[in-house]
Symmetry: C3
Subunit: 413 residues, 3 copies
């Protein structure tokens, strides 16, 4: 089906069964992908970079999604602007390099010149009725929170404060505003963004596919909490471990607890603090402390903070480093996955931390997931693919799926 | 024209002229290609491999066509199963390598495990109402005949016995069940599958394009029989040669004769035995015997057996080796061509046969045909292409064309 | 919008604002591209090569545009024929090499043989009612003028004499019929053909983007005449320079003056003679004479002749060499640009001219333009692209744009 009208799509949505994967169309159709971008991705606040990537006045980087290129640039007053990389004259890209430094933005075609706030500074030889104030760069909504740069492609974005409120204290505790990027890496994945997120929303596959993850995390944690709280069958054993840990951690004055959406809304946020496997201080092969403590941690509490700000971002944070995920839908069969490892801004590589040890688990696991998702997509393209039943460890996927379908349906009204 | 409705397509079909090539649409349109796959290719029994490729319990190989991947696997009792390579859980490909050995089929994603007969053996942590019997791998129809593995992608395949009956004795005489694969090779061809088959259905191009073929086969044979019996102008000279040879061969107790469809039906089968060029024992440069005699041959009768089981397969068999062709439509402008050379199972390379000498003629000829077909496709894409008149040596092409058009038309009712 | 009907497209055309760039659709849509090819490109006489490329009887070269391949071949009587490279039998390409020599055109598939004038010479084994006269190669309209080979893909081409009349004397003065190709080069450009031509129709970008061009040409010329007469703001200073130069040149008996369309018609032609920067004899880095004087030049008049025969060709000619441009639309986002440098037929490389010095300016400038156009296209693909206001130096672009829109609109009636 090349194109569907709204009533056909509604029927298709209503045919989706609870606790089953989605019909093929959702994972392959260009039409549904276009709606996804317009109605789901473009309405979310998405984390796209950390302030440490642009430490100086004039520093910029590009965030590319499909046909769009966004310039993220730091101004004189340390404010951060986001602009569409499209000259208002004839439409040329203005910044051609993925990152750089420039005190003004000069279009390479005809030298129209913009200030870093996007206002037009100069344009030669224009007619007399030309008014520079009419030709500001197209602004992209952006917010800086705890060093994290969020953008929102919507014309009428949701209020940022409302959006960040429930996960705020979890992020703040880790002191990301005093952090720096230790490493950044892309894992381009030839699969639909929903297959990519499905993979991230369940830990049913962790045991067969991720020996490294299973080596680092407690077996009972993986079953009950592997993809977030209440995403697997209850585990009395892990509940006891968690209760005991909470008591210990509260005595240390550290944060405990969890957040999940209790009713349907525009967001799909979650947060929780849980203990690592016994004996592990941080998420590495040996579990030994690997870098400077971050944020408000006075001592190692050996916990793990998982925060989801939207389906497109996950923040997985230990006491001494953090791994941040960004999932970018590019086309129906292609998703860009970016990982960023953050450490305390004063930590020095080679002295305070060893990068290879720190990135080991999520690097090897994301490489495995890339392959898994690509093989998943291949099978889903078969005429014989039909949705299959989900296991007890795939409740997180079902949650995401029903949020997604409701969102998509609402957008068709 | 991106899309046509049935009545437009029927009009187009009725406009096709007898003894002319087809209109451009048939060679380029995605819409017609999709119908071809659904109504022509998917209804035929197609030879995809020889049993010697999976000699042991658990041996498997994949047969890929477009978005479909089929697992062909040998079970404990030596039976052969064909399954769609799609896990019933979330749809992942199960087998990732083109061939291998496995006593159970384990999905690499969540470790759902299937027996070789496709029945679900294990799935962890499913809900209580989950019934393993409901989640058998999607079966693909398959048949083993004389060591040849045939599959049929239809939900309601034609009866295999009815299908194979007329060509049976020709195939059996060559003892393919006691054969083994000496070589397998792909010739990916950037041309529509019908242009690819057109090329195979006439020998009008043999003289200008295939000096190697013309070196090995008799000139009068090429004219009268190059693309099968009754595909070129009658040759009294070759008729005499054939009559004489038949007499000789019948005395030896070998098979003679031919088969062709006398009325329109679901099949497009043919078979015939003819003599090679005088002095040739087999289809090589020198014509000297090159391997062990196969099947029921007691001595060299210097004959050539051509069998077409469907438009997508041809079996060209000498007394001591056989060359099998599989033509797989992949997309409107792309066809996969696979050649398989079979020898007696006890023949040893280097000792009983020389591979390079054996494959020489069809290898060099298929490479030439690949180029020819690709240049044909380029011209057919021109706005100026119009069907041209067929020669007296292209009767086989006309036969295939009318069978194809009638099939396509019937599918639109 | 995958497809538009005529009334939607008319509305879109009527929404285009004077002195602004075009809406995104015009630079990206497959539908509009197809109309462009049919209604604009295919109706123009397009220069595709110079006779010196096929000096001998039987010499040919191919001109490829999208799915079409045209054979340009020189016959015994030195006439030039253009044929579609499509065999009338089954449609194969006939000539497979980009250039060569052949006294007859033999299809490599079945050896149908054509005379160089396109008439069918031989076809083996055809039915009795087959008439060779019915199967002439599809002719493409072609004209040889002053050594320049023009083709026209229309079924009913405009009269060539009418077409060439206004630019005739400008071209003739340069003696291109006594010239030869010194160099030919492609600059494949990933941008819509209109973005490619927009770039060629204004010199507003010359200052920021083309230091080499600005080094060779007078600043006041660039502003007023950079993209042709009346394409920039008037410059009294350059007007004086031009008047003075005209007087000098007329005394020498050379040609002066200009041509531009004064009312809307099928053509978009222009021509003018202007002086080079003071002290420059020709369009090279040093400005010193670089080759033999061409055509009717008795001595260097230090002028520059710019001729546009259609939007798809520009001829930029100095006294001692000429640079010819051909712009070929290939797909919505891809344009082939070909440059040809011509010198006097008796000039010898290494002795009379140095190729690197001669091609330097337009080679480096066209490489820069390729990048510029590609970055322009990237930004125009953004959802945020909207047409921007044109400067006083982009009047040439506005002229082309309005000619194009009117043509497109007329074709919809």
């Amino acid at each position: 089906m090349i194109c569907m009208n709204n009533s056909e799509l509604k029927k298709l949505i209503s045919r989706q069964k609870s606790n089953y994967s989605l019909d093929q169309e959702f994972y392959v159709s260009q039409h549904i992908f276009d709606l996804d971008i317009k109605n789901i991705f473009s309405k979310q606040w998405v984390f796209v970079g950390h302030i440490s990537r642009i430490p100086n006045y004039g520093d910029y980087f590009l965030f590319n999604i499909g046909k769009e290129s966004i310039i993220i640039v730091r101004d004189k007053d340390d404010s951060v602007h986001a602009h569409y990389n499209v000259c208002r004259h004839r439409g040329s890209h203005i910044c051609l390099e993925n990152e750089g430094n420039s005190k003004v933005l000069i279009c390479p075609y005809h030298a129209w010149t913009y200030n870093l706030d996007g206002s037009l500074r100069g344009a030669r030889l224009m007619d007399k009725d030309f008014n520079k104030n009419d030709w500001h760069l197209h602004k992209c909504n952006s917010q800086l929170f705890e060093g994290l740069i969020f953008i929102n492609l919507s014309e009428h974005p949701n209020d940022f404060e409302e959006f960040i409120a429930p996960t705020k204290k979890f992020i703040e505790f880790h002191g990301l505003s005093d952090a720096k990027i230790a490493n950044r890496q892309y894992y381009p994945t030839e699969g639909n963004w929903k297959l990519t997120l499905d993979n991230f929303h369940e830990c049913y596959h962790c045991q067969p596919s991720h020996p490294e993850y299973c080596q680092v995390h407690d077996k009972d944690y993986i079953i009950a909490y592997g993809a977030g709280s209440n995403t697997g069958p209850a585990s009395e054993k892990f509940d006891n471990i968690l209760t005991e840990w909470n008591t210990k951690v509260e005595k240390m004055g550290h944060l405990t607890g969890e957040y999940y959406e209790t009713e349907f809304n525009d967001y799909s946020r979650s947060a929780e603090r849980t203990p690592l496997k016994e004996g592990m201080f941080t998420e590495t092969k040996t579990g030994k402390p690997i870098s400077k403590l971050m944020g408000k941690f006075k001592d190692y509490d050996c916990g793990y903070t998982s925060v989801g700000t939207s389906p497109f971002n996950s923040l997985l944070m230990c006491n001494d480093f953090a791994t941040l995920f960004t999932f970018i839908p590019i086309s129906p069969l292609y998703t860009q996955v970016e990982l960023m490892w953050l450490v305390h801004k004063d930590a020095e590589e080679g002295k305070d931390y060893n990068l290879e040890e720190m990135k080991w688990m999520w690097d090897v696991t994301t490489i495995a997931d890339k392959r898994i998702i690509e093989d998943n997509q291949k099978g889903v393209l078969s005429k014989k693919y039909v949705p299959g039943p989900l296991s007890q460890m795939e409740r997180g996927l079902e949650k995401f799926k029903s949020w997604y379908l409701k969102h998509l349906e609402n957008s068709l009204i």
